[in-house]
């Protein structure tokens, strides 16, 4: 997402990364790995439940295909950070887009640990939101 962040900003959007880790751990993480967008904490996982994000199983985590994907990520420069004692290792993530009225316009719930949407899809959704907004503004002007 870091690579498409400038495009998202150009389209009038913003990005929020959300972690279930406590704020202090998030602070330590972003000090070590700075990100261009805010990283917020959802320690009671209320937001995770609101978006119905699922949990995986140890079997899925340790499947050869999952391990292979992690190895590919490591080849691309990603380094695993040792999880905290109370980290929920089975919690899956997901990607969502809300419009300016906080209406859900895109939802992608990970089905396994390394499952994420292609970043380009997020930009395309953002572009379509922007186009709809411009069309709407044009219609309002002509009325």
């Amino acid at each position: 997402v870091q690579t498409i962040y400038p495009q998202i900003r150009e389209l009038g959007g913003d990005v929020l990364a959300i972690s279930f880790s406590p704020p202090a751990r998030v602070a330590a993480y972003i000090q070590r790995y700075p990100l261009p967008f805010p990283v917020l904490s959802d320690p009671d996982q209320h937001a995770y439940r609101t978006f119905a994000l699922e949990k995986t199983s140890w079997w899925t985590m340790l499947r050869p295909t999952s391990i292979l994907r992690y190895l590919k990520l490591m080849v691309r420069g990603w380094l695993p950070w040792s999880p905290a004692k109370d980290d929920d290792l089975l919690q899956l993530g997901g990607d969502f887009i809300l419009d300016e009225h906080r209406r859900l316009v895109f939802a992608y719930r990970s089905s396994e640990p390394t499952d994420r949407p292609v970043a380009k899809i997020l930009v395309n959704v953002m572009r379509s939101i922007e186009e709809k907004k411009l069309e709407q503004e044009e219609t309002e002007k002509t009325e």
Binding site: S19, S21, P23, G93, E100
Partner: protein, 41 residues
């Protein structure tokens, strides 16, 4: 019940790294990409 496409998401309260609470509505963007992480790392 999981939130569905087209529904309005509640004004969730999240916590900044320094410990202060923040609402989704405090991010005035035309659209907001929310990336839910797995464990940090």
């Amino acid at each position: 019940m999981a939130i569905q496409l087209g529904e309005v998401v509640e004004d969730l309260v999240l916590v900044r790294p320094e410990g202060t609470a923040v609402r989704l509505s405090e991010f005035p963007a035309r659209a907001l990409v929310m990336i839910f992480l797995r464990h940090l790392g």
